[in-house]
Amino acid sequence: MNPLISIGLLLTVGSAFADVAVIGGRIFTMESPEPIERATLLIANGRVQAIGVDLDVPFEYRQIDARGKVVTPGLIESYSQFGLMEIGGEAATVDSQVVEYPLGPGFDVSFGINPSSTLFAVTRMGGVTRAVVAPQPGVDPLAGFGAIVHLGGGDIVTATRVGLFGGIGATTAEFTGGSRSALWQRLVTAFAKAGRFSANRYRPGERDYSRQDMQALKDFLRADVPLVLSINRAHDIAAAIRLAELHDLQLVIIGGKEAWKVREQLADSGVSVVVNVFNNLPSNFESLGARLDNAALLNDAGVNVLFTAGNTHNTKNLRHQAGNAVAHGMPWFDALAAMTRNAARTWGMDDVGVLSVGSVADVVVWSGDPLEVTSWAEHVLINGEPVPMRSRQTRLYERYKDLKTDDAPYGYN
């Protein structure tokens, strides 16, 4: 090999992993509600190396000018189907749900997460850098285990079995003969049996959980990860709190349209709620209490509030959930923390969601207020690496932005 070329290759590889300095921004470290003004963030080997005002920037660092910009940790989506769903309406591209084969709590989404999904590039350009990937309830109220991904491409699954997901509601009740009570009985019985489950002695009946499911439940009861239930009705949320307390489980509620009605109980029990702020429709008799200020009421009562965009394809709108929560009474910093620090803590990520020395360098430089509909992410770093601001959508835009180009035949640009 020509020595010049090999040196060139080395340099190319070196620059792809260059250390980075984000200079002069208004940095929200999330360790304090107050930003550090005109501050610089040094990033080396994928982690935050230093943060402060008037830091010396080593000459070899790639520099990102953040003057006049807002800098935050990358945002974390708390409930998604990334890598499990390409086209919602095409079953062949959806792997988030076990529909006919009877697999309940034994289902683990992490095997099927597709790192090449087009959704990753579209979403990370919007400043979302990590996500909880969860199964959707299928034939059973216990849907299986979720995972965590980063959106930087390559080896993206950072943790598996981060929670046991399920759902209690009108939809899941259909799988237990149409009664919510039967649903609760199935769950309570399953948890009670799982504690003393022995694979050798277990003889499942036709509609009982399989050995694989029971083993997964037993393992779950011994693991330190939350039970994550999609529930809307206040009365069911209260019942879930009792079930979790009985088995000494952490509980996370997804949706929780009526969670505000039991906010004191939720706060006392340390339950987290993943809110979709826009869900204010009385769309069912289990969610007649839906309201736009659900997140604000919960937060005010001391409940740990997290957010979901509620639509994996448009997870880039996660920050607007937070913005709308603020419009309806939630403090701005708390809303930002719900997508960063608090989400990371809830999902067992100790070194993301904040910008402090040693933390993983998921960083976003925003053109303005990150919660606003008029701002955008100008630079996004995941694990310290700037992600390209390119996706299938930007390619389509480039192709069609000027319909009058005659330089090349159609289809060659």
């Binding site: 826009f278 009385p282 008799f285 932005k401």
Partner: protein, 448 residues
């Protein structure tokens, strides 16, 4: 300006008188209200302009004056400093009332999925005026909506334009004089619904054959009727409710609103319209309009679009967030629609996101221009653009006062006027409507 206002008034009276004698006529009437003066307010006019620190006078349901230091002693005077005034938001694609909350099998009345051609159904006969979602949309500044039937069928039925006012009957919400629409649908939905039943259409070519067969029949029906009317034939055709609708499209009385995602299918629909000599008023969803914005501009067809929805089905896979701005830039008519009982509450934010996505790539779009996408352009597509959709003297006082710039995520509609009457006031619980379904059940009265 005054002459124009008067001529509109006369037209309105004439249509109301005419309609009053017809079945299914609008029974809406403008509520009397005190003269209202909003002083020192920032205005996005809906015509692409921004006015700073002006006064706007509302009288007898209309915008009576726009200017500085307007004199007079109106009964209601509103300090507009720090606030923004816009035309009432108009959603051209809604299913409120036809797909109400709660969503139950007994309330799903939006899609007559029993035949690929149900041009005979009228969605107004499904609309439940007690849908609590109307009140939520009002709190989002929506004053006018087109309710459409669903998109399962090639011809889904007639749509209706409603004023967002509480009423015991749908007639009390019907926008006087607004034309009805015909909902048509391209692509995946009809071919999937009927293909799965081994019925036509099962393919996109089956879709097009279905449109063409129906239009050919409609023309023959019209010719038979005309021959009878002129005495050339002594046999009138048997009345056919489907063909009645299609003939009214051919005659220009009913506007075509066509659900269509893909650029190539929209181009094909333009050809179908050419073959049978009818006009397509708007393509709805239109996630690929940016690919043929020039063709749409030439054909004078509006695109009603989402700011950023994509990927939920294959025909939506190529949606990009610059779609709306690219259509607008090509001088085609761009509209932001919701098709969602949640989204309708924040069309201002949807327009803002579409504007921002364009700015991100260096396109120049003003807030004043983006406001047109949810007001005047929407009104034009509903055939009521002369009456409402902008803040100009003589137009209906369909207005929203926002507590800050409406393109901020933190903005909330504070007051909403329809024909000058204050139908919603965030600061006054007695001015927040509750549907019957809300009473003692939902939280609507305490937390809009």
């Amino acid at each position: 300006m005054l002459a124009r206002a008067l001529s509109w008034l006369v037209l309105l009276l004439v249509t109301q008188l005419a309609e009053a004698t017809e079945p299914y006529a609008s029974t809406y009437s403008v509520r009397s209200h005190a003269d209202t003066l909003v002083v020192n307010v920032s205005v996005l006019t809906g015509t692409g302009e921004q006015l700073n620190g002006v006064d706007v006078l509302v009288s007898e349901g209309r915008i009576a004056a726009v200017g500085s230091d307007l004199s007079g002693d109106p009964a209601m005077r509103i300090d507009g400093s720090g606030k923004w005034l816009t035309p009432g938001v108009i959603d051209v694609h809604s299913h409120l009332g036809a797909y109400p909350s709660p969503v139950l099998s007994s309330t799903r009345d939006g899609n007559e999925m029993t035949d690929p051609n149900t041009a005979n159904v009228w969605v107004e006969h499904s609309v439940w005026p007690q849908d609590p979602q109307f009140g939520l949309a009002l709190a989002g500044g929506v004053t006018t909506m087109q309710i459409l039937p669903g998109s399962a069928n090639l011809f889904g039925g007639r749509g209706v334009t409603l004023k967002n006012v509480p009423s015991r009957t749908v007639g009390g919400m019907k926008y006087p004089g607004a034309p009805q629409s015909l909902k048509m649908a391209c692509g995946e939905n009809p071919k999937r619904i009927y293909g799965e039943q081994s019925k036509a259409p099962a393919t996109r070519m089956g879709n097009v054959a279905g449109y063409r067969a129906a239009w050919a029949k409609a023309r023959a029906y019209r010719d038979q009727q005309q021959a009878f009317d002129s005495g050339k034939s002594d046999k009138a055709p048997d009345r056919d409710l489907r063909l009645d609708t299609l003939v009214k499209v051919l005659e220009g009385e009913i506007l075509v609103h066509n659900h269509c995602y893909r650029a190539d299918e929209m181009a094909t629909m333009i050809e179908v319209a050419k073959e049978f000599d009818y006009k397509i008023t708007a393509f709805h969803h239109a996630v690929e309009s940016y690919k043929i914005a020039d063709l749409l501009a030439e054909a004078g067809i509006c695109s009603a679009m989402w700011a950023d929805w994509w990927g939920f089905k294959l025909e939506a896979f190529d949606g990009i967030p610059q779609n709306i701005a690219l259509v607008d830039q090509a001088s085609a008519c761009a509209i932001v629609h919701s098709d969602s009982a949640e989204g309708i509450q924040r069309l201002n934010q949807e327009a803002a996101k579409a504007m921002t996505a364009a700015r991100r790539v260096g396109m120049s779009v003003s807030a004043a221009q983006a406001m047109v996408w949810i007001t005047q352009n929407a009104a034009n597509a509903l055939g009521i653009g002369e009456a409402t959709g902008s803040i100009e003297v003589g137009k209906a006082a369909d207005l929203v006062i926002w507590d800050r710039h409406p393109f901020s995520v933190y903005a909330r509609a504070e007051k909403v006027f329809i024909d000058g009457y204050l139908y919603y006031d965030r600061l006054d619980p007695t001015r927040q409507p509750a549907r019957d379904f809300d009473l003692d059940q939902t939280v609507s009265e305490e937390a809009r």
